[in-house]
Amino acid sequence: MKIPKERLEKYKGLKRDFAEEDYINLQPIQRGGVLTEEAMRAILEFGDGYSTCDWCPPKTARLDMITNPPIQDFYKDLAEFLGMDVARVVTRCREAKFIAFRMLGRPGDYVVLDSTAHYSSYIAAELADMKVKEVPNSGPPEFRVDLNEYVTKIEEVKKECGKLPAVVLLTHVDYLYGNLNDAKIVSKIAKEYGIPFILNCAYTAGVMPVNGKELGADIITSSGHKSWAASAPTGILAFNKSLEEKLTARSKIEGDLTKRKFAAKELAMLGCTVMGAPLITLMASFPEVVSRVERWGEEIEKVRYLVSELERIEGMRQLGIRPKMHTLTHMETEGFYKVSLTHKRKGYFLYDELRDWKIVGIQPGLTKHFKFNTYGLTWDQIRYVRDAFFEIAKKYGLSFN
């Protein structure tokens, strides 16, 4: 089919409304994925489709064996950085979870996971034909996952099925409240039962120090575009040697006519995985990522400062565990909600006001509560955000503590 030229016009000169250069973007999922200078430069070199594969095939025809650009070295450095033995770059964190579920479990098996897990953890289990057993949380205002309850849930599965769950998954920092969970508690439980332990580090690895060995993780999953200053889609699957055979099992299929085999290809990765811009930005940003996790303490200082300032505004209260241990933050905002009830733009007024201040990323329409992420903002930008909220609060007559 031929598409009329005028319909194609909209695909030319694509521009983003909220460029990082012009706005402060507080969108919780975007802060850790902002590209580094090196990554932007690398896109110029390797943005073309298969450009990372100029020197492929190497001795073994597989992406992780390519030495120029240094993909092979990168995989090793990535694993070491995470305190794991082996790493693979896959399309997304959810794919990493799916691969782990699929290769370690069987249809009908259980995954025991925290009740603040991201929806993609559930869907990955569903696609792997597995069931989930949720570990409860305390509800408002902390939403703290009772990590010791993993034992209860494992026992429930054992009673119900006569066998243990296939895997245990913990979300290191959840997407809702930014609560940091103590992985060591769950890894100890998983170890006692001999169940592989997956630590979902979508919001942690790449922005804060994560050492899988110290935390006792058998598998770490993460997201390049969420936390590693990489283009989407990029996911990370890192694991211990003990699981290598299962997770990187090779293809065994054979063509019935041609007798073709693909024994070098890793089955769960479907052969080669991510290449081009996503992989190359992940690699190019890696030196900065290695260095920025050391500055995590300052990121925490900044978010705690902003939270304490915002809580001076009438009706504003941080939800989740206090004090903040992560930059993803959920605020309850009764004062702004009260304003929205009589405002002609209703719940959208706050978004409009913030946008006038060139601040975006707070979900349009929300005033009762909303999330934001301050990761990577400078102190000046943090103060700018505070000032904006203060001025908006004053404009609508809210009081201050």
Binding site: E20, D22, I24, V34, E37, M40, K358, Y384
Partner: protein
């Protein structure tokens, strides 16, 4: 490879030995020079991300931008000269 071409283009022994008539063969480093210019501008963009949205800059940030602009300008001039030759 681009670097090899660039060195070759900068080597006076090779001046005038255009292997591809009709091309700008004496300036084989054009693409890598161009990418360096874009790199200078990317440096500025990266800095702007740290000062958005009001772009209130410290003296050192201003100097950094000026350095990158000067570098880009000088590379652009050389690139232009290279093409005109």
């Amino acid at each position: 490879m681009a670097e090899r071409f660039r060195r070759r283009a900068a080597d006076p022994l090779h001046w005038g030995s255009n292997p591809h008539p009709g091309s700008i063969g004496d300036y084989m480093g054009i693409s890598s020079d161009l990418k360096e210019i874009i790199g200078d501008l990317i440096k500025i963009l990266t800095l702007l991300r740290k000062t958005s949205p009001d772009h209130r800059m410290s003296e050192s940030q201003k100097e950094e931008i000026i350095r990158s602009l000067d570098s880009a300008r000088s590379r652009l001039d050389k690139l232009r000269e290279g093409i005109e030759k």
